[in-house]
Symmetry: C2
Subunit: 258 residues, 2 copies
């Protein structure tokens, strides 16, 4: 899809070879450095897992000091966009299993253990977005979506019934036959160059409907935890809407405050 822009970096006219940053009133230099790097991540100029140039190289390229580059990079580490390892370099964050588990999977067992869920897809549908879906995914009327219905088990016990909606335009080649794997965010990244950078969740208690009750092995009307999540890219475009209904008899949802 997006080609490495290295060759096209110097197509002649534009701004010369590199964006030479200069002081702008009201906008710190390090913020401008962040913008440049962020844009390159969006463009897939540096790909997930790849190493960035060293602090000194970036500093030379952008005509700022190494300390300014350092502040920009550290800020982006705090946003989970980059990772730094002493002696090795600075790398674009990648969606490993571990990362998915700790960043985006918040159901833990009574013993405090995190377990990787196992999913079974119940249905995969291709259709027009409902009004609610358009609202959540910021889509125009008439937009197509892919709707996924699956059940996820923790320790071999069916625990989560999940409905996902993806904008068709972001995932052109995805269809019902090519079943997506367990780690969807990694799949989005590897196959489509789409990186999920953050997600907003809202949580409620709901009563299980008959189908959910049957799938989860509880009584209809039993209390379930509903997690409503919209995942967005680095540049804040919605990627996925996911509604998970969880049996919390043996698992709890965790959050840190303060």
């Amino acid at each position: 899809m997006v080609e490495k822009a290295k060759a096209s970096r110097k197509p002649g006219g534009r701004k010369g070879k590199t964006p030479r940053l200069k002081r702008v009133p009201g906008k710190p230099l390090y913020a401008q450095v962040e913008e440049v790097i962020r844009q390159r991540l969006i463009d897939n100029y540096w790909k997930p897992g790849e190493a960035l140039p060293s602090e000194f190289e970036l500093a030379r390229e952008l005509s700022v000091s190494q300390g300014t580059v350092r502040k920009a990079l550290n800020d982006m580490v705090a946003e989970n966009l980059l990772e730094r390892r002493q002696g090795r370099g600075t790398f674009v964050s990648e969606y490993t299993e571990r990362r998915a588990l700790f960043l985006y999977f918040n159901l833990i067992g009574r013993d405090g253990q995190r377990t990787m869920p196992l999913s079974r897809i119940l249905a995969c549908e291709d259709r027009q977005a409902t009004e609610r879906e358009r609202d959540r995914l910021q889509l125009k009327p008439g937009s197509e979506v892919i709707a996924l219905h699956r059940i996820r088990s923790l320790d071999s016990t069916p625990t989560i019934v999940e409905r996902l909606t993806l904008p068709r335009e972001l995932f052109p080649a995805l269809d019902g036959d090519a079943k997506p794997p367990e780690n969807l965010y990694r799949f989005y990244q590897g196959e489509y160059g789409i990186t999920v950078a953050k997600a907003a969740e809202s949580v409620q208690a709901v009563a299980a409907d008959p189908l959910e009750a049957q799938l989860l092995g509880v009584m209809p009307g039993a209390p379930l935890l509903e997690i409503d999540r919209v995942a967005v890219t680095i540049d804040d475009r919605p990627v996925e809407w996911r509604v998970s209904r969880c049996n919390t008899e043996n698992y709890t949802y965790v959050a840190e405050r303060g």
Copy 2:
């Protein structure tokens, strides 16, 4: 050139004397600066709302550079322990209404608005800690606790039934007559010098029992959101165990991920 630091640490030095920091292998200087400042917060040497000395003063006192003090202070701002305002100074965080609402109250209305709850105390009891309470609050067998039962309304609608347990030893003067106010964390801080620094929450869906159902105006067995929270001080001592059961028909619990 690094100053030789003289290393004249006096063995018989008094506590009130200035701790002169020196390099220790494996422990960065800024981490030591953080420790000193953190300990002073724990000791209430600087009180909530008070201004700290300037970066330069602290740097001189601790025999480190201003940049090192800066890093320590900024780290502690990220932990919500301090606040900095350009041109004014660095201040110890205080529990304002606004702060309590945004840091520790996570039920928001359908419209995304945060509302301050209004509480009515149903019971206030003084008794021995149960085993579960001892576990959560890290108390020794036989410890006394204060148990509070209250109902909280949002927009005049009873929405949360809450049970709180406080270690008696932390709140010696608190009794059933002196009813604590709405903002408990601020109360703890102002009256007892106890600062809640962070909290861990775990969330589940549960069925309303008959009493809760009556208080909240729902049917018995209706799904409620249960939030289980232990609040701890800067030095990680448990201050309060709180179990809130919420009617989430009109409110949702929010969290950010990534």
